[in-house]
């Protein structure tokens, strides 16, 4: 598996796209999706919600367990991926593409987001 260079990564295994007009897309990494197994239910933050970096903003339920979804940055949710709500398996089949989770207008971001190479090393450790 390879982590796209164009993204940044959190220790909770979320990815964050480059921003366009202050808005970035958030998803979970392939590493995280593989660890979860088949995702069967996604509870995503709602448009208008304010999410806080490092805090839970939803949950992903898989066959074996439920996992919190953490916000990698602080900001206002401007879109949630209805395709994932309808078909949570997108998180497994295309975690970096069609399986994105929500878009956030960034108000603040932590200084410990990782590059692709740093994240790859992080998950190898």
């Amino acid at each position: 598996m390879s982590n796209p260079q164009r993204l940044r990564y959190s220790k909770e295994h979320e990815w964050l796209s480059a921003t366009e007009d202050g808005v970035a897309t958030v998803g979970i990494t392939e590493h995280a999706a593989n660890a979860l197994g088949d995702v069967v239910f996604a509870q995503l933050p709602v448009v208008g919600d304010t999410v806080t970096a490092g805090e839970s903003c939803g949950e992903l339920e898989s066959t074996k367990s439920v996992s919190d979804l953490y916000a990698p940055v602080t900001g206002e949710v401007v879109e949630a991926n209805q395709d994932v709500v309808d078909d949570p398996s997108l998180v497994n089949s295309a975690p970096f593409e069609g399986g994105w989770l929500f878009k956030v207008r960034i108000a603040d971001e932590p200084d410990d987001l990782m590059s692709a190479d740093e994240y790859t090393a992080f998950t190898a450790g």
């Binding site: 593989n34 197994g37 069967v40 239910f41 066959t63 074996k64 398996s89």
Partner: protein, 375 residues
């Protein structure tokens, strides 16, 4: 839990080469899944799946009084098991609490193989050894003697037929016979834990890889895939089969678990003829007069998944506890088994829910199993 390093089956290297996600299960490093557990589940329901179950604990009991020992040590009537047949049974404490659920195979007139759950194998071995005192019978730890592979699913008879001359048509459900499979000596049993037709193959560990590869080759054209413990759990849950540590514990008797039928009283001429017998007579009477909580099925109306330990609720009151829960690939909805107060245990009882992290999610009460194969 201890810090003992995990044990590995004879197929460990093979699992890793297949890219399996491994998990600790009862002290064993076992395949959880190879790819998608839902795809593995569906393969077993519609085609076939291949499992490594070498963590299961085999105990051999032999001798002129092997039957007497097993009748004394277990709750079932082992004397009524014919040679070449198998029986689902339980071993209980003197107070009737369940130590483990077991399958006992009668391999010869005076030779039995007891198969225990991995997590309970030592407990069962110790109990059988202790209970063997005074019987002319030997209890032998054969956990290292066997690897166990299972082929499960509607295509499994055809797959197995292509690699053995053994008379599979004559091998009924819950029967076992020695034979040769893919050139390897095996005990071929028509048993499983998936709700499908299928076979369990007990072989020497050094033969496990050869057998695995032969079954993979024979099964691939009809859609057999390697399967991990994750789908084994959802398969057995759909089939309404109990899992020790979830539906079965030392705090419950077989009657509490709705499995009183496995207990056979008066199987010999002695009055107090088996360990737990006296307590279980009381449990049987209580189950008849004032039944305790009942094991039921729950089907979610929503999409949030119930998990073991969550409360079953009705009118704001706790009326039961979930023992197993998972998204059901066959039903397309979350399902659970739960012990529920009798007042709320009837199928269709309105207003029953599960407290999922503070939210009362609505659930339909149903009779078990959730899934029964068409024969």
């Amino acid at each position: 839990m201890s810090n003992t390093p995990p044990r590995h089956t004879a197929l460990d290297t093979l699992h890793r080469s297949l890219g399996a996600t491994m998990t600790d299960f009862a002290g064993w490093d076992m395949p959880l899944r190879y790819a998608s557990e839902r795809d593995e589940h569906n393969a077993v329901r519609t085609r076939a799946g291949l499992f490594d179950l070498s963590h299961m604990g085999e105990i051999t009991v032999t001798g002129p009084q092997a039957v007497d020992l097993l009748n004394y040590a277990l709750v079932g009537n082992i004397g009524s098991v014919g040679t070449g047949r198998a029986r689902y049974t339980m071993i209980c404490r003197a107070d009737g609490g369940i130590l483990d659920d077991l399958i006992v195979y009668r391999l010869q007139d005076e030779q039995f193989m007891v198969v225990a759950n991995a997590g309970n194998a030592q407990v069962v071995l110790d109990a059988l050894t202790e209970r063997a005192a005074g019987f002319d019978a030997e209890v032998r730890d054969d956990r290292e003697a066997y690897a166990l592979l299972a082929v499960q699913g509607p295509e499994s008879p055809g797959i197995l037929k292509s690699v053995t001359d053994a008379d599979l048509d004559g091998l009924k459900y819950y029967a076992g016979l020695p034979g040769t499979v893919a050139g390897v000596p095996a005990l071929i049993a028509r048993t499983g834990y998936t709700g499908e037709d299928g076979f369990e193959l007990f072989v020497a560990p050094e033969h496990a890889e050869q057998l695995w590869r032969a079954l993979t080759d024979a099964g691939a054209p009809v859609g057999l895939v390697p399967c991990g413990l994750s789908c084994r759990d959802t398969l057995r849950l759909e089939a309404g089969m109990p899992l020790y540590g979830h539906e079965l514990t030392t705090a419950l008797t077989p009657f509490d678990a709705g499995l009183g039928r496995v207990v056979k009283f008066d199987k010999t001429s002695h009055a107090d003829d088996f360990v737990g017998g006296e307590a279980l007579r009381g449990a049987a009477e209580r189950a008849e007069a004032a039944p305790p909580r009942k094991l039921v099925g729950l089907i979610a109306e929503g999409r949030r998944v119930p998990r073991a330990g969550m409360s079953v609720v009705a009118d704001g009151e706790v009326v039961g506890e979930v023992t197993s829960g998972a998204p059901s690939p066959t039903l397309g909805k979350p399902i659970a088994m739960a012990y529920v107060d009798v007042a709320h245990a009837a199928p269709g009882t309105p207003g029953v829910g599960v407290d999922i992290r503070g939210t009362h999610e609505p659930y339909e009460v149903v009779a078990l199993p959730f899934y029964k194969r068409q024969k």
